[in-house]
């Protein structure tokens, strides 16, 4: 060892030990910092981090309730659910959407139609929504995607419940359809304070019963608290609250009758409503053309959507509730009843019809140019004499007419249990005041009353209103609110909650007068304007034909040279009930641009009655009414 060094050992050691002490103090200081940090995290901020840890590990997973099933009065299913696998993409989790779809297309077929539909949904949704790009996968496709899933992040295979409408277009306007929830729907759900119940739900009823009974059909969402790992995989269930399935709906509607009625329209546009007069239950509700609600279930593709939206036939419009038509001559029985009730006519009192009615220098023409001669009340209905009603309307005056007709629900929403009803127009001097701006327009002219008397002029009612009114005639003046749902049914227990028929204010009319109208309307079907349509019927029915003039094209209609002629033709109308002495069915039919009510509308009613009353269906439509003289209107 070197002696030189030994000499300094003591001092060196002292120096060194000083440095070591400094290092030791630095170590203590550093550990004190660590301790402070631990204290801060584990004691001071413990609650915060504990919550964060809990949030990490617990995920609340909604368990969707099964949507209620809709079936007709005989238990035939009109809307049901089926389970299918879908491939879903969450755009927010994906950097290059096109590349991902490309990758996906390499392993399963993605038809262009599905791609377009996906694009459409993409535009309407939020980035963290999970959107289906393919639905109804086969088991094989599920397996292929599942195996490759790890290579395509943001893509998932999900089992979902889909809505299915086995009857397709039949009763589409009644049942409606389910569609993806939009921002607007979300807003409505929030307002109704149902946001929690709709967690996990991505479809909601858009029209028809699916919409109006959304709450009942949806059910109550269950929740499951699941412990999840960092990959989001469930590890175990912590708590579970079961969902309550939506209520099933039992309808008053008879789907077979509905099918018969829809088929009876053939290629015609129009609407039909058949009611059970003693309850207001809807037996059939037709709006032609219809649409296939199944198209909407997976999200409708743009081509189909455009086709439905742009069609001049307006297939998405529910004509039965929202279509407005002048009642034409179907208005006459009510006019006659008004005359009896208000003492303006007696049944036997006759009016001479020379083929026209002169008023203030204007000639109001009867459709029969040669005139009907002396016409009493029954005959006026049976042959549908216009002149009789021109004169009657003039005698009654518009305010009497409006007041009397108001009792039948004309010009007021009937309050049926699906949405979209139009109000219609029950013309009166007061209505005109409200409707128009200038004093010139606001004034009611007596000449206008005369047109109103034969169901033309400002008159505009929905087929539902026409049906409700004729049901009132059928049911001796006792009216019920029309409804489609007859009961809701607990999906589990099968317990049914009946929808009680809601009686409306009974009509203030004498039975004797109603009886006279009945006799006249029986005459219409027996030897009058609808005699052809009801030839050889095995029951007695009461009816009234009508023809409504299409005055002008509606503003939103496109000009279509090849069809404009057809669309200017008159609408054919018919109201009826049967059996005449104890009616179980009352209906109103409107066939657009089909000409005489006797020819186009009454045969439809005949088929419906035949089926409903006799359980038979004539494959061959009944003979058309002969188009001679008086049968026209």
């Amino acid at each position: 060892m070197k002696f030189v060094e030994l000499r300094n050992t003591r001092q060196e050691l002292y120096h060194f030990q000083f440095r070591v002490s400094v290092a030791g103090i630095a170590v203590l200081a550093a550990f004190a910092i660590l301790f402070s940090r631990f204290f801060y995290l584990q004691v001071w901020q413990h609650d915060y981090y504990n919550t964060r840890a809990e949030d990490n590990r617990i995920s609340i997973v909604p368990i969707l309730p099964g949507r209620g099933i809709i079936h007709d009065r005989n238990g035939v299913v009109l809307a049901r659910n089926f389970s299918a696998y879908t491939i879903e993409i969450t755009p927010g989790k994906i950097a290059d959407l096109d590349a991902t779809i490309g990758q996906l297309a390499a392993i399963v077929d993605i038809p262009p139609k599905d791609r377009r539909r996906f694009q459409r949904m993409l535009e309407e949704s939020k980035s963290l929504d999970s959107l289906p790009i393919r639905t109804r996968l086969t088991d094989e496709e599920v397996a292929i995607v599942a195996v490759n899933r790890f290579r395509i992040p943001g893509v998932e295979v999900k089992a979902r419940m889909f809505r299915q409408y086995p009857f397709g277009e039949v009763a589409s306007h009644v049942v409606g359809y389910l569609g993806r929830i939009t921002d607007k729907d979300i807003e409505l759900i929030r307002e109704a304070d149902l946001a929690a119940n709709y967690r996990g739900t991505d479809h909601v009823g858009k029209t028809g019963l699916e919409q109006s009974y959304e709450r009942e059909l949806h059910g109550t969402t269950g929740f499951e608290q699941v412990e999840i790992d960092s990959g989001g995989r469930g590890v175990r269930t912590l708590s579970h609250s079961a969902p309550t399935a939506g209520k099933n709906l039992g309808l008053t509607l008879d789907i077979r009758l509905q099918e018969i009625a829809e088929r009876a329209f053939g290629a015609n546009r129009g609407a039909l409503i058949a009611l059970e007069p003693s309850t207001g239950g809807v037996l059939a509700l037709v709006s032609k053309p219809g649409f296939d609600p199944n198209l909407f279930v997976d999200g409708i593709d743009p081509a189909n959507w455009d086709a439905l939206n742009d069609s001049a036939d307006l297939p998405l419009n529910n004509r039965a509730l929202a279509g407005l038509y002048p009642p034409g001559s179907t208005f006459k029985p009510y006019m006659a009843l008004a005359a009896l009730e208000l003492g303006k006519r007696t049944p036997s009192q006759t009016t001479f019809d020379p083929g026209y009615f002169m008023f203030g220098g204007t000639r109001f023409r009867d459709f029969k140019a040669s005139g009907h001669g002396y016409v009493d009340m029954v005959k006026s209905i049976v042959v549908s004499c216009d002149t009789y009603y021109y004169s009657l309307a003039n005698d009654l005056g518009i305010d009497n007419i409006a007041h009397f007709m108001g009792q039948f629900g004309f010009g007021a929403r009937a309050g049926i249990d699906i949405e979209g009803e139009a109000t219609g127009v029950l013309p009166s001097a007061e209505w005109k005041m409200r409707r128009f701006r200038t004093p010139e327009q606001q004034k009611w002219y007596p000449g206008e009353t005369i047109s109103v008397g034969i169901g033309q002029g400002y008159n505009a009612y929905t087929p539902l209103q026409l049906a409700q009114a004729v049901a009132a005639l059928a049911n001796n003046g006792v009216m019920y609110r029309p409804h489609i749902v007859s009961y809701t049914e607990d999906a589990k227990t099968g317990e049914r909650t009946l929808v009680e028929p809601q009686p409306l204010t009974p009509l203030a009319v004498k039975p004797r007068n109603l009886e006279l109208i009945r006799t006249a309307m029986i005459g219409v079907n027996r030897e009058g304007t609808a005699a052809g349509a009801f030839a050889r019927a095995k029951y007695v029915s009461a009816g009234k034909t009508g023809t409504a003039q299409v005055v002008a094209l509606k503003q939103n209609e496109k000009y279509d040279a090849s069809r404009v002629g057809e669309r200017l033709r008159d609408h054919a109308l018919f109201i009826a009930y049967a059996p005449a002495n104890d009616p179980t069915i009352a209906l109103a039919v409107v066939v657009e641009n089909a000409g005489f009510g006797a020819r186009a509308a009454a045969p439809i009613a005949r088929q419906v009655f035949d089926f409903y009353l006799l359980g038979q269906h004539a494959d061959r439509p009944p003979e058309a009414a002969p188009v001679e003289d008086g049968d026209g209107d």
């Binding site: 030990q17 030791g24 550093a30 660590l34 995290l41 840890a53 960092s230």
Partner: protein, 365 residues
């Protein structure tokens, strides 16, 4: 008698207090690893083997006389330099970094060896120039330290570079580098931070920025820090209990058997466990510094001091990282993290400490 004699000879050079502390830490380590690697139970056996090997290495290192260690310093240093150069030229790239040197029979990480070779070399250098330490000597030492450190930093392996630089710096500091000079260097260092920033890899910069605000990148780099901090904080005062850490067992803690094992420990044993761990490390460091303070030669003192303070560096950086105080650098928690390489290096250091302790009186001549 013979057996007892053999046992005594076998354990003669093992320092009792140091060994007890180390065993306590190993025990905590195995318990924590058991919890952290529930999905890979094989790791316990593997870590057991690592420990056996590391203890053997410790025992061997404890048998080597400090003077012999000094003799091997230069060849070891040159070998490490050579290997680091080799890594730079022919190294295998794993996880985006060139750290491994392929040898015929396997591959090694020369940067691990540097953690021992560099303090050895510097301690020897200062020992030989003891009593005449001037600017020239410190400058030479700085170069000896800087070359391998930069090679490691370039790999890039910031964690190891940091540990190597710290080990070298401790030698220089303990050798008596003037306070004024250190203050000057510190100032210069601060001034050169912007330059350093430009030299850093983008992922290193990101780690640093993420540390300042982990929520900026909650699914990327910030995820590690956020989840580890949640684990520590949710542990509370007494912890969630062994095997009951939800962050651990639901796999929210990344790298939970290795670099982030402290988050696992902390979640399950809480502040009380943390204090225990700090005290154990503190005891180990205190013992090491005591050994250094009482070592007979300048070389032994510097070496012992550097080994001990490097141990501290591991501990501080790892715990600081797992609790969100320091940026994420790949530094294991000594004697607890899963992995053989760091374990062997650490135990080699402890073995050297024991050797220095044992030979403290044998140098007087």
């Amino acid at each position: 008698m013979v057996i007892r004699g053999l046992a005594e000879r076998f354990t003669a050079k093992i320092d009792g207090p140091l060994f007890v502390i180390v065993c306590a830490l190993l025990l905590l380590g195995i318990l924590t690893l058991y919890s952290a690697s529930f999905e890979q139970p094989g790791r316990i056996a593997a870590q057991g083997l690592n420990i056996v090997i590391a203890l053997a290495v410790m025992w061997l290192a404890a048998q080597v006389h400090p003077l012999a260690l000094m003799r091997y310093a230069v060849p070891a240093f040159l070998l490490v330099l050579l290997m680091l150069a080799g890594v730079a030229l022919f190294g295998d790239v794993r996880n985006g970094a060139r750290r491994w040197l392929p040898l015929g029979f396997g591959s090694i990480q020369p940067s691990e060896l540097a953690k021992i070779a560099i303090p050895l070399m510097l301690a020897r250098y200062f020992h030989l120039h003891e009593g005449a330490l001037g600017f020239r000597e410190y400058a030479v030492a700085a170069v000896l330290l800087a070359v391998p450190t930069l090679l490691i930093a370039r790999q890039p392996d910031l964690g190891t570079a940091l540990l190597v630089a710290a080990a070298g710096f401790y030698v220089i500091f303990l050798a008596g580098l003037s306070w004024k000079f250190m203050a000057g260097m510190f100032a210069a260092g601060l001034a050169s931070l912007p330059v350093l920033w430009g030299v850093l890899h983008s992922y290193q910069r990101r780690r640093f920025l993420t540390l300042l605000d982990p929520s900026q990148d909650p699914l990327g780099a910030g995820y590690h820090i956020i989840q580890a901090t949640i684990a520590v904080g949710s542990g509370g005062a007494v912890g969630k209990g062994w095997l009951k850490g939800t962050q651990t067992h639901l796999e929210f803690i990344p790298e939970r058997a290795t670099d982030f094992i402290f988050a696992v420990y902390s979640e399950e044993f809480g502040l009380i466990g943390n204090v225990l761990l700090l005290l154990l490390y503190l005891a180990l460091i205190a013992r090491g510094l005591t050994i250094a303070a009482n070592a007979p030669t300048f070389f032994a003192r510097l070496l012992a001091g550097s080994i001990t303070l490097t141990f501290f560096t591991y501990t501080f950086v790892n715990m600081g990282m797992a609790s969100g105080l320091l940026p994420v650098v790949g530094v294991p928690l000594p004697l607890i993290s899963y992995g053989g390489t760091a374990m062997v290096t650490l135990f080699f250091g402890i073995g050297m400490l024991m050797s220095i302790r044992h030979h403290r009186t044998l140098v007087q001549t």
